[in-house]
């Protein structure tokens, strides 16, 4: 029996009504609206406080459009998704736009463009086959492709600021950092590899004193691919990302093997690698020295971290207010020290809010992993969540002098298109995975 046009239209409206009335969808809309209000208020306050033109509101307009389109497409494509991932990612990104408009107004247009690109990538993931087979099946292809891109960066890489490590590939006015893409590809590779070998890794293990470790046959290929990634990153002096890879790898290995000894051994190796890096790289030695005792060199080597701590202190509980603090005293505040800027202008409460938003994404991501039925999904969700968590913790702890500075960005918030695009892809994958589990249920 054929359906008439009127019946189809009626069916469409019914679906739409259903979408709008679903509690999950309502919750997501409410969160997006609250986030949007916060971002709008910040931008208006910034305009008034810094005597800016009202045309500088346009990033908020783009943000609102992205939120509306994103929510609408997700409702259709992933109706059973986790309702917190998208609003929290958009909330943090919008806050980041506020921050970049305040700190480096000239970069706000580029970051807004990256938001659009990031959202497009996120939504594109929802169109691809839902079982993510394309990612799992061609793991070597993806990873080698990512490494090749990294290799190209070694030869043709550039730095948008003209000085410093050449970690970017330039496309006109846009620059992309391939190591960001490698984060996802490496996690996908590890998830795929470990998912295929997980039962054997747990069963076929070797005794090493009191501890058992997986057989070398299982670990060999993965260690090789991971090692190549690390070597390339170290070659590029991208030591922050190398550290991130190392920690994520160790945690995923622990998740797959269930061997806590591996994790402890990995931590030991990390310390050894750090000591070796101190001998090999002056910058590592400098950062460790500055971390241990920044005060004697507060006006030279430790200027950045000391100013960062002063910014946090200056923010107090409630902050100075957007546009009212002095975070621009900190060199490259918009990328490495975005968190210090937030602490100064939004206070301890603002800093805790950012941290809580990131923590909630991580916890929800881990929950997706726990609820996933397939090992690949579990490991992918966990790997992506751990990547987001470790990257956040590395930069937060670095800014607060808990660990040496590593130079990674604060997810969603810091200036940087590559980082933002990567985080939107991570969010997209988590959304797909969360939707699959609910679908299956």
């Amino acid at each position: 029996m054929s359906t008439t046009t009127a019946e189809m239209a009626a069916l469409g409206l019914d679906e739409m009504d259903e979408e709008w009335s679903r509690p999950q969808a309502r919750r997501e809309r409410l969160l997006l609206a609250l986030g949007g209000l916060f971002i709008l208020l910040n931008q208006v306050t910034l305009i008034v406080a810094r005597d800016r033109g009202w045309e500088t509101l346009w990033p908020v307009g783009v943000w609102a459009l992205c939120a509306a389109i994103g929510h609408s497409v997700l409702e259709r494509r992933l109706p059973h998704r986790d309702p917190l991932f998208f609003p929290l990612a958009m909330f943090l990104t919008g806050w980041g736009l506020n921050l970049i408009s305040r700190l480096v107004p000239g970069f706000a247009d580029r970051q807004t463009l990256w938001l659009v690109i990031g959202l497009a990538a996120l939504l594109a993931l929802t169109i691809l086959p839902g079982d993510l087979r394309w990612l799992r099946r061609y793991r070597y292809t993806w990873l080698i492709g990512g490494l090749a891109l990294l290799g190209v960066t070694i030869v043709l890489g550039t730095n948008p600021s003209g000085v410093g490590p050449r970690l970017w590939l330039g496309f006109g006015r846009l620059y992309y950092q391939p190591s960001e893409l490698l984060k996802i590809l490496l996690v996908a590779f590890l998830a795929s590899y470990f998912a295929d070998h997980e039962p054997y890794m747990r069963l076929d293990s070797r005794r090493l004193g009191r501890w058992s470790v997986p057989a070398p046959a299982f670990l060999g290929p993965v260690l090789l691919m991971w090692g190549v990634s690390i070597v390339v990153l170290v070659w590029q002096r991208d030591l922050g990302t190398a550290t991130l890879f190392f920690v994520v790898f160790m945690i995923m290995l622990y998740l797959a093997s269930g061997q806590a000894a591996l994790l402890l051994g990995g931590l030991g190796l990390l310390v050894l690698a750090g000591l070796a890096a101190m001998q090999l790289f002056d910058v590592v030695m400098l950062r460790v020295r500055v971390w241990l005792d920044p005060w004697p060199t507060a006006d030279s080597d430790a200027y950045q971290i000391v100013q960062s701590l002063m910014a946090v202190a200056a923010g107090g509980l409630f902050g100075q207010g957007i546009g009212q603090g002095q975070p621009t005293i900190i060199p490259v505040v918009h990328s490495d020290f975005a968190f210090a800027a937030i602490a100064e202008e939004w206070g301890m409460l603002g800093a805790l809010a950012v941290m809580a938003a990131l923590a909630v994404i991580v916890v929800r991501g881990m929950r997706v992993a726990v609820e996933a039925r397939q090992a690949f999904d579990r490991l992918l969700a966990a790997g992506l969540s751990v990547t987001l968590a470790v990257q956040s913790l590395l930069i937060l702890a670095g800014v607060l002098k808990l660990v040496p500075l590593t130079g990674v960005t604060l997810p969603f918030v810091s200036y940087g298109g590559s980082s933002l695009l990567t985080m939107f892809v991570v969010t997209g994958l988590l959304l797909v995975l969360s939707n699959r589990e609910k679908d299956a249920a």
């Binding site: 998740l255 301890m348 805790l352 916890v363």
Partner: protein, 484 residues
């Protein structure tokens, strides 16, 4: 794997919890220490944003004010750099001097009520300072600068008996608008010392200018001046012209002195040191002269309300046990005693004010930020007498006679003003540059209340005392109108 996932989640949450504690640590525990650090640029920026209050001259002309630059920082502007001798300077880098220093807390707005300060801080308004009304008369200030014509030295003019300082010039000076840029040059030249306020802190040999003090001491040794003053002043003195040799210097009468015989009044008018040197030990004991120095305030820092002044270096008290050479040096103002122009101004003012000192001050009213009305600065109404009234009166008449007789003093005469004056030369030592002094006042008495404009000028490297008198004359003419 679920157990491992839960374990990892717990560890990650614990790590986030540690981050939260770290934020609290830097905000709550270490916040105060971090914010108070000298290298905290936020303090520097807050300081640079302070809109200091305006310094006005006595007629409401702004001598210094602050404005906000495009960067949001405050900039201090001095529309009349020639007033720098009084206003001083404000520099974020190099600090303050003059009125800027003396009334720094008012100009910065440090006394802003706690609630207003809190509101300002919350709304990120820059701290606003209060205004200061000086007693400086811009016309007087400019007249002095013009008359000095770039000569090094100092000049100070004050109203008697109010003690209001009308003009205060120290040269070579500086332009406070370009102080930061000029600092190197201003500080490198120790001989000219442009940043030294010579009025309040410039120590000079009094030399011939001490003859007024000696004259007062001699007159003070007579108990009944109404009977004896004529005799003391008008008796012809043998050898009045004879130069005095002291510390390798030969001190004589000023150029233009008539021939013998001279009276004490004439010797005073022409700056002859002989009779005054001879009086020490004969008419005035060293101990008595020392006591006079003390009463006249020459042994301590001169008083100028709110200002940092300089006490002369401590010297050995005069006494009969001292060598004749030292006593001679002390009597001629070529000894260890050094004075500032402000010291001498107080003595001149007392002569014009029946022996009473005056409360010297440069600021007479303050206005809190945002207020319309001025609040007067508390100034002591009466100052103790530093000279006997009859002594002051006789010295005054002697200065009037000097103005009539001495061509050097007469150089200060302007129009119909009734001038009282005395000139003198002093030397920092053999071969050193001489200083040319003028001390005097013009009478402005109306009825029974004495009133005058007093002036002290000292010029460095100037051997002609008429030049100092000329500067004084221009200053007195500019200030001649009664102060409001």
């Amino acid at each position: 794997m679920t157990a491992e996932l839960n374990r990892v989640t717990r560890v990650l949450l614990l790590a986030f919890g540690i981050i939260a504690l770290a934020i609290g640590y830097w905000v709550v525990v270490e916040g105060g220490r971090l914010l108070a650090r000298e290298d905290n640029a936020r303090n520097v920026i807050a300081e640079q944003r302070i809109l200091r209050g305006t310094i006005y001259d006595r007629d409401g002309e702004p001598l210094a004010y602050s404005r906000t630059t495009a960067l949001g920082l405050a900039e201090r502007v001095y529309p009349y750099p020639e007033a720098a001798g009084a206003t001083g300077y404000y520099s974020f880098k190099y600090g303050t001097s003059g009125i800027e220093e003396a009334f720094n807390s008012v100009l910065r707005g440090d006394g802003t009520p706690a609630w207003d300060a809190f509101v300002n801080r919350t709304l990120h308004r820059p701290q606003e300072g209060g205004d200061v009304r000086s007693t400086i008369d811009l016309d007087v200030q400019q007249a002095i600068v013009t008359a000095m014509g770039g000569r090094a030295g100092a000049a100070v003019v004050a109203h008697v008996p109010s003690g209001q300082v009308l003009g205060m010039v120290s040269l070579p000076g500086y332009d406070p608008n370009t102080l930061d840029a000029d600092w190197e040059r201003l500080t490198v030249d120790a001989t000219t010392s442009p940043l030294l306020n010579r009025v309040t802190t410039g120590l000079y040999q009094p030399g011939g200018a001490l003859q007024t003090v000696m004259l007062a001491a001699i007159l003070g040794s007579y108990s009944n001046l109404s009977e004896e003053a004529g005799f003391v002043l008008n008796t012809e003195l043998p050898q009045a012209h004879v130069p005095v040799r002291v510390n390798g210097l030969e001190l004589g009468c000023l150029p233009g002195t008539p021939g013998d015989p001279l009276t004490l009044a004439e010797a005073y008018a022409y700056g002859c040191p002989g009779p005054f040197a001879a009086a020490l030990g004969e008419r005035v004991s060293p101990e008595r002269l020392w006591e006079r120095f003390d009463v006249l305030g020459l042994l301590r820092a001169p008083e100028l309300a709110g200002f940092r002044t300089l006490a002369p270096p401590a010297i050995e008290p005069l006494g009969t046990g001292m060598s004749a050479e030292d006593l001679l040096a002390a009597a001629t103002g070529q000894g260890a005693l050094t004075v500032t122009p402000l010291h001498m101004l107080q003595i001149v003012a007392a002569i014009a004010n029946q022996g009473n000192g005056i409360p010297l001050h440069v600021v007479d009213a303050l206005r809190p930020p945002g207020a319309d009305d001025w609040e007067p600065v508390e100034i002591p109404m009466h100052y103790p007498a530093i000279l006997r009234m009859d002594v002051a009166e006789v010295v005054r008449l002697t200065m009037l006679q000097a103005a009539a007789q001495s061509p050097n003093v007469r150089a200060a005469q302007r129009g119909e003003l009734v001038l009282y004056g005395h000139t003198g030369i002093s030397y920092a030592g053999p071969g050193a540059r001489p200083y040319s002094w003028f001390l005097g006042f013009v009478d402005q008495t109306l009825g029974d209340t004495p009133a005058a404009i007093a002036v002290v000028v000292v010029l460095e490297g100037e051997t002609d005392p008429a030049v100092a008198a000329h500067v004084a004359g221009d200053a007195l003419a500019a200030a001649a109108g009664p102060p409001s």
